[in-house]
């Protein structure tokens, strides 16, 4: 039996019909072609599939799409500023090269975004705790911690969260 659902994704409300067994991440990727969110394990450990559900980070492989009916989802595709420029955290990831292959990156950005929303001036230990549920095989995490620390500092400087600079220094 399929279910009709209505989900607000990155600010846009989408109607869809889903099979109950379709996970939220498969729905985003396969049905909506939002392939920015990645699948690393499908059993809840790697964090690559992290998205914001009503503003809170969750694993989208551990939720069925049908359960998202009526909820709001933010994916990595929704992290840009309203004017289309990179978000401060995205720009900071670029500035510190907080990634290599980019596979864990959407999940890391979601985790970092959530942390800075809750705590604009996190300690390194708090940053590490915030991303502890996201595995990265490439970076060894140090430059990711750098990026989130940098983004925090930048956000504190521009409290309205105005757009970051795009492109190269």
């Amino acid at each position: 039996m399929t279910h009709a659902i209505s989900v607000t994704i990155n600010g846009v409300t989408r109607q869809a019909v889903v099979e109950p067994r379709q996970t939220l991440v498969d729905f985003l990727r396969d049905q909506l072609a939002l392939t920015g969110t990645h699948v690393g394990c499908e059993h809840g450990v790697c964090g690559a599939c992290s998205v914001l559900l009503d503003g809170e980070p969750i694993r989208s492989c551990l939720m069925f799409a049908v359960q998202a009916d009526g909820h709001a989802i933010t994916t990595v595709e929704g992290l840009r500023e309203d004017d289309g420029t990179l978000g401060i955290l995205q720009d900071s990831f670029w500035e510190t090269h907080a990634l290599q292959c980019g596979y864990c990156t959407p999940g890391m950005l979601i985790a970092g975004q959530d942390l800075l929303a809750r705590n604009p001036d996190p300690s390194d230990e708090e940053i590490r705790e915030a991303i502890a549920g996201n595995l990265c095989r490439c970076t060894g995490y140090v430059q990711i911690v750098d990026a989130i620390r940098l983004a925090g500092a930048r956000m504190r400087q521009s409290p309205e969260g105005s757009g970051a600079e795009n492109g190269d220094d």
Partner: protein, 801 residues
């Protein structure tokens, strides 16, 4: 070579080109590919480590709506060739699906193809396979015995490769030294386990008769191997290199997956998608890494100078062969590490067991071997009561000895190990660290300092292939780059490889930008496919900075030469009367007389009448295919060969504490000083070193594919296979030194592996320093908390009784 001071882009902090697409979710990974009519594959796997497959009943599964095909090994083997073996073992025949016999628990036995992945999984559960279990062997040392159950019956024994190399007067050197020590060491089976599993989409175009392949691949000779197994010409396989690879570190080989997908695409006439799920990847993906048993002996004098070394290695390659035995080869290229060891005996043994197959792993076998070498150095120091720093300093090859020929035939290009080692010591504030360790010990803590160095051979020509397989005469592993200038002066570079996080687009653009004086941000870099592309061998063996960098520089220089020719001609000057700088050709005597690259490009594309007579081809493009520096020779009969041209160096110093109760290890301080020659992009290099070290910490302390005696893998999920998180990896500090390589375009060397080559040895050193007051040692990796705690408890019990 541009002088360091004059460089604009090389070594400057610049944002990597690739990052922009990944921070916005705009990467293109294989799982993002959606072809019309695409079918999905799920695998039926063997529950037994060894079994004869008697019958496979697919009827119930095939009847499920949405199921298109169920393929078994017998059908496949009837129409395909076996997968290539690295070493010369014609009796070993492996196919993507087990044929007649299953050789490890989890091996693929049948493939189910259906309209969706979920349906394919539903049907896979309904395939009924009858097995007749056979005896199995899990332990490599047992597998060596002639009486052990044969994994590949056709081969006659489980030994796939065995040779003892003797380089130099080992017997004399051992006899002539006052001291000798020996030990055994165990490197447990781990692997890089990228966060993205392997995946492939294959599509057969009946019109062009080309098999298109999109895959998360990092594999030399990929198209050749696929074509060989599928019995089609290589020029019918088009592997696309513009697929972003979600991490590889060596393991993204996927030959069996691609052969299977390609076979099905041709058979069914529809695109086939085979993306491993995490269970398929961990259990049946044949991507486990080295699994080694070492015996090490060294002979040394009263000053701690190591004269000779004997190394015996048994590599447990599991139930598939592939390239795994070759991982015994790369260590030959730096078999003495950073030390002046006069002679070496190296016995290399590759043995089959009923475990998952192996793939190449970062460092291609060097990381485990480095633990063996560095442990030996620590032990020499301990035996003589000397400091571990001092023994290393005494044994290091000195800066004035380069190029330095090691006994196994490779010449190290350049280095300054004493300086880098001192930098590590200073960065770590070694004296403060010692005081801290001793204070911690006085408080009853178990604390230790780890010291390790490592060499990172880079840019190789795959000389381990002819070394380990005399039928293989490979003496080059070129890499290429094409640079094109369009008629508006826009520059596009084509590279013949996919990329898995190493920043090859940034590398090529930076070097081309440097050579042409053009902002790298304005240079576009695209990835070819295997039919339109140039010779290339993918980013294995820490080779791209050296090889792709050199190819890009070579192609850019050819463009510059063309520009100078056209510019001089149109300025009415000879070529030595003009100068090229920052995209402009100008007259030396009157710089106001100049032509921009855009103008010159337009001439070359459109105005043949303005072309100098030497240039007979319109357009501006150049290809450079780089031969490996110092490559081109086969090994000698006694197994000496120049394997890699460039040698990077790193020194790791780490402080560790072991919790007395739980055995839990913390690494509060971790310092690395390294020298990879000229740094092309500082942030990329930093990431490679730290990321590699983190990977090494995982292998040293946490990660293992463990098997129970019954042959079942116990760590086939991300819950049981423990990859370190941000809490397990410390804030690693770096210092950099630059000894340029004389062999490369800008003095660069490789850097993708060094962190991983040094960290396991350094962590092992720290643990053993911490355990030394208790008179115990741990020579088994991974050094899990429980293992360390059990060792301590046993020792305590012994001293009490």
């Amino acid at each position: 070579m541009t002088e360091q001071s004059a460089r604009r882009f090389v070594s400057a902090k610049r944002r990597p080109k690739e990052d922009g697409r990944f921070i916005t979710g705009a990467g293109h990974f294989v799982a993002d590919i959606n072809r019309p009519g695409m079918l999905h594959v799920a695998l039926v796997t063997s529950p037994h480590p060894a079994a004869r497959i008697t019958t496979i009943d697919t009827s119930e599964a095939a009847a499920l709506p949405g199921v298109v095909e169920i393929l078994t090994g017998n059908v496949l083997a009837g129409e395909a060739n076996p997968l290539a073996n690295a070493v010369d073992t014609p009796g070993v025949k492996c196919y993507p699906l087990a044929v007649g016999v299953a050789r490890y628990a989890g091996e693929w036995v049948a493939a189910v193809i259906a309209e969706t992945r979920a349906l394919a999984e539903d049907a896979a559960e309904l395939v009924e396979v009858d097995y007749e279990p056979l005896d199995h062997v899990i332990n490599a040392e047992e597998a060596l015995e002639p009486t052990s159950p044969p994994v590949h019956a056709g081969h006659g024994s489980n030994i796939l490769y065995r040779r003892t190399f003797t380089w130099g007067p080992v017997a004399e050197d051992f006899a002539g030294q006052p001291h000798e020590l020996s030990f055994k060491l165990r490197w447990g089976r781990s692997a890089p386990v990228p966060v993205e599993t392997f995946g492939v989409v294959a599509e057969w175009d009946t019109g062009t008769e080309i098999l298109d392949v999109w895959a998360s691949i990092q594999m030399p000779s990929y198209a050749e191997q696929i074509a060989g197994a599928l019995r089609i010409p290589v020029n019918q396989v088009r592997a696309h290199y513009d697929v972003d690879v979600g991490g590889s570190y060596g393991v993204k080989r996927g030959i069996k997956h691609t052969v299977l997908a390609g076979f099905l695409a041709r058979r069914l006439g529809r695109p086939i998608r085979l993306i491993e799920d995490r269970l398929e990847n961990m259990v049946g993906g044949d991507m486990h890494g080295p699994d080694r048993h070492f015996n090490v002996a060294v002979a040394f004098d009263d000053d701690g100078l190591i004269r000779s070394m004997k190394l015996r290695v048994i590599e447990d390659v599991g139930g598939q062969t592939g390239r795994a035995p070759f991982q015994l080869g790369k260590p030959v290229s730096a078999i003495v590490g950073a030390y002046q060891i006069n002679s070496v005996e190296y016995e290399a043994i590759a043995v089959s067991t009923n475990k998952t197959g192996q793939a190449a792993v970062r460092g291609f076998g060097m990381s485990p071997t480095n633990v063996a070498i560095e442990t030996a150095v620590d032990k020499v120091a301990t035996r003589l009561g000397l400091s571990r720093l001092e023994v290393r300093r005494r044994n290091f090859i000195r800066a004035d000895q380069f190029p330095y020929l090691i006994p196994s035939g490779s010449e190290y290009d350049s280095g300054d190990y004493h300086t880098v080692f001192k930098m590590a010591r200073d960065l770590a504030q070694f004296d403060v660290l010692l005081a801290r360790r001793d204070a911690a010990r006085r408080e009853g803590k178990i604390a230790g300092i780890g010291i390790a160095t490592c060499l990172e051979p880079g840019g190789g020509n795959s000389a381990f292939e002819p070394l380990l397989n005399p039928k293989n005469e490979t003496t080059t592993w070129p890499e290429s780059c094409v640079v094109k200038v369009d008629r508006t002066g826009g520059i596009t570079a084509t590279i013949a490889t996919s990329t898995s996080g190493q920043g090859h687009e940034t590398l090529a653009a930076t070097i081309i930008g440097e050579e042409l004086g053009i902002d790298p941000n304005d240079i576009r870099v695209v990835h070819s496919d295997t039919l339109s592309g140039m010779p290339g061998n993918t980013p294995v063996a820490s080779r791209m900075a050296i090889m792709l960098g050199g190819a890009a520089a070579g192609a850019a220089k050819k463009i510059r030469d063309q520009a100078i020719l056209i510019g001089a001609h149109n300025l009415g000057r000879t070529t030595d009367q003009v100068r090229y700088a920052n995209g402009v050709v100008s007259a030396v005597d009157d710089p106001s007389q100049s032509l921009s690259l855009a103008r010159i490009a337009l001439i070359s594309h459109r105005e043949f009448h303005n072309m100098p007579p030497e240039l007979t081809e319109p357009g501006m493009q150049a290809i450079h295919v780089l031969q490996v520096p110092k490559g081109g020779t086969l090994p000698t009969a006694d197994g000496r060969v120049q394997m890699y041209p460039c040698y990077s160096f790193a020194a790791h110093i780490v402080y560790a504490e072991i919790d007395r109760l739980t055995g839990k290890v913390t690494l509060p301080d971790y310092c690395i000083a390294h020298d990879c020659g000229t740094v092309i992009n500082p942030d990329i290099v930093r990431g490679m070193v730290i990321g590699g070290a983190a990977h090494g910490i995982g292998a040293a302390l946490y990660e293992e594919f463990s098997y129970e005696p019954g042959g079942q893998l116990l760590s086939g999920t991300f819950v049981d296979y423990v990859m370190p998180s941000s809490h397990e990896i410390p804030d690693i500090k770096l210092a950099e030194h630059c000894t340029p390589s004389p062999l490369t375009s800008h003095g660069q060397k490789g850097v993708g592996e060094g962190g991983y080559l040094g960290a396991p040895a350094a962590v092992a050193s720290a643990i053993n320093d911490a355990l030394s007051p208790f008179n115990i040692e741990c020579l088994t990796l991974p050094m899990r908390a429980s293992l360390l705690s059990d060792l301590l408890a046993d020792q305590l019990a012994e001293t009490e009784s």
